[in-house]
């Protein structure tokens, strides 16, 4: 297991969002004046009601859309597409390809043959506990397993930053808890940075060391909280008084966010 990351304040900067604004179709303000400093090793949750611009923020960071104004800057210059992994709310697997072929995709699009990256693919599948299913087709897997494949695909290139847009929202609670635990373990193993979108207070507190609370209409950041409980966090953290206190604090901030918007 990698050493515990340095405390939030002293980590090197990875990415800066400054005064980012995104307006759709001239009048829908999806995001107003968002400032976010992402540090290497952060686990940041974007928490807020639907329509507050969480997905828009991720799409901006992944360069799928461009800010109307403001800037998003990777520290240390331009990033390559190897630096980014993405997980959507749906597993978004190619149904015609096997599990291993799906995980191969980021490499394949770089022109790498399967044989040359076979080890990386199998390692990623092992990390999510699916090495036995490498030749299965997505339809043969459960929802949770598909999501694991999706996560394996996102991290197979060992990206510096992984973006996750409500990845576990469609799963049942038991599966979600399990995947939350596994995600933290994975992150510790590969030592990447994660920006995680959710509308669950409990999920955000369990996973992250920084929570960005957002409000809708117009989408904006209301508050940023720090969850300074140490990693590794296990099942016992979920039942601790500390966890409950963080949840209460976050929940209050979220209610203010919703109240302000209403």
């Amino acid at each position: 297991m990698a050493p515990t990351p340095p405390p939030v304040g002293s980590r090197p900067r990875l990415l800066d969002m400054t005064h980012v604004e995104k307006v759709f179709g001239g009048d829908v303000v999806a995001l107003r004046d968002m400032n976010l400093a992402v540090n290497e090793g952060d686990f940041i949750s974007l928490l807020g009601p639907s329509g507050c611009g969480k997905s828009t923020a991720l799409r901006l960071i992944s360069d799928l859309i461009h800010p109307t104004s403001g800037s998003i800057r990777w520290v240390g210059g331009q990033h390559g597409s190897d630096d980014l992994g993405v997980v959507f709310q749906e597993p978004t697997l190619m149904p015609w390809a096997t599990v291993a072929q799906n995980v191969w995709l980021p490499f394949r699009l770089k022109g790498k043959t399967y044989a040359s990256v076979k080890d990386e693919i199998l390692e990623a599948l092992k990390l999510v506990g699916l090495e036995k299913f490498q030749n299965a087709y997505p339809r043969e897997l459960s929802g949770g397993m598909k999501m694991r494949v999706s996560i394996a695909r996102a991290m197979v290139t060992k990206p510096r930053l992984i973006l996750m847009d409500e990845p576990f929202a469609a799963l049942d609670e038991i599966t979600r808890f399990k995947l939350n635990n596994d995600l933290l373990e994975l992150k510790a193993k590969i030592g990447c940075t994660v920006i995680f979108v959710t509308h669950s207070v409990f999920e955000s507190v369990f996973l992250s060391d920084r929570i960005v609370v957002m409000a809708a209409r117009p989408g904006r950041v209301i508050r940023e909280l720090t969850v300074d409980a140490p990693y590794p966090r296990h099942e016992d953290f979920r039942t601790s008084a500390e966890y409950a206190a963080f949840c209460r604090e976050t929940s209050d901030a979220l209610h203010i966010a919703i109240g302000e918007a209403a």
Binding site: E90, M94, P95, W96, L109, K110
Partner: protein, 285 residues
């Protein structure tokens, strides 16, 4: 082991249910073949009885015995005719696949190409081929090429329109993922659009197979044996001029059989290409 007890008591009941279900499934499997066969036998029998009892003259409606006789007698003539019609049909279908797919790819790669040419593809489709065939004969020197064009026109549209929709039907998130990983146009087409389009294309192919045969028959009727040699449809037409209704029916049955065969082959191709992943090809328990 009280917990295990109910388990040992329950299975017999479940077994009985299972057996009943298996029995029903078996009956269904058998009935799927026997029922249509029975209907065919009864129909042929009724046909035979009607022709014999009502003493229908053979130049109005030949009986099944006469048709079977003609089939054997004229086999030396019918078999080469069937080859001719098959060649025309399959060539037209192959051209429809190549042309339809190529045009669909062009349409999805360039909006301008789609805007400029799609209306003409529609016009080509909605104009009845039987009305176009005589014109083709006038303007196209080779009668064979005219016949081929005729069959191609009918067969190519379902391939074009299905493949075009299919190429555009790729999952949006997957498409975003390809963008994030910096996929080239070619990679996007090869690894995303093409596999997404496959089920649509195969649906189009099934329709196009039947239409190619219809196109070939129309071409043989209108353009005649000059271009294609003596095919099944021209044989049928000639037989009708000579009141040789036995041969006419024999040719008609062969054309139907060809249609069924084409459909079966297209269905098999579709099943084999999709069975591993597409919902349409997966058997559910």
């Amino acid at each position: 082991m009280t917990i295990a007890d109910p388990a040992t008591n329950v299975p017999p009941i479940r077994d009985e249910e299972e057996l009943a279900r298996a029995r029903t499934a078996h009956i269904h499997r058998v009935a799927k073949w026997t029922l249509p066969s029975l209907v065919m036998v009864l129909t042929i029998l009724a046909w035979h009885l009607y022709v014999t009892i009502a003493e229908v003259p053979h130049y109005i409606l030949p009986g099944p015995v006469l048709v079977a006789q003609k089939m054997v007698e004229d086999w030396a003539l019918l078999w080469p005719a069937m080859i001719v019609t098959s060649r025309l049909t399959l060539l037209a279908l192959a051209m429809a696949v190549v042309g339809g797919v190529a045009l669909a790819v062009a349409f999805t790669q360039s909006k301008w190409a789609e805007m400029s040419f799609f209306p003409y593809a529609v016009i080509l489709q909605v104009t009845p081929v039987i009305a176009v065939a005589p014109l083709l004969q006038v303007y196209v020197e080779s009668a064979f090429v005219a016949a081929l064009l005729c069959a191609w026109i009918v067969a190519f549209f379902p391939i074009l329109s299905n493949t075009t929709i299919g190429l555009k039907s790729a999952d949006h998130n997957l498409s975003d993922l390809f963008t994030i990983y910096g996929a080239t146009r070619w990679q996007r087409l090869r690894y995303l659009a093409a596999p997404s389009a496959l089920p649509f294309f195969l649906g189009g192919l099934k329709i196009a197979g039947g239409l190619a045969l219809i196109g070939a028959v129309v071409a043989e009727f209108v353009i005649g044996r000059a271009g294609t040699g003596l095919g099944l449809a021209s044989t049928l037409l000639e037989a009708s001029y000579r009141f040789n209704f036995g041969r006419l029916y024999a040719a008609l049955i062969l054309i139907s059989l060809m249609g069924v065969l084409i459909f079966a082959v297209m269905s098999l191709i579709s099943h084999l290409s999709l069975r591993k992943w597409h919902e349409s090809a997966i058997k559910r328990e």
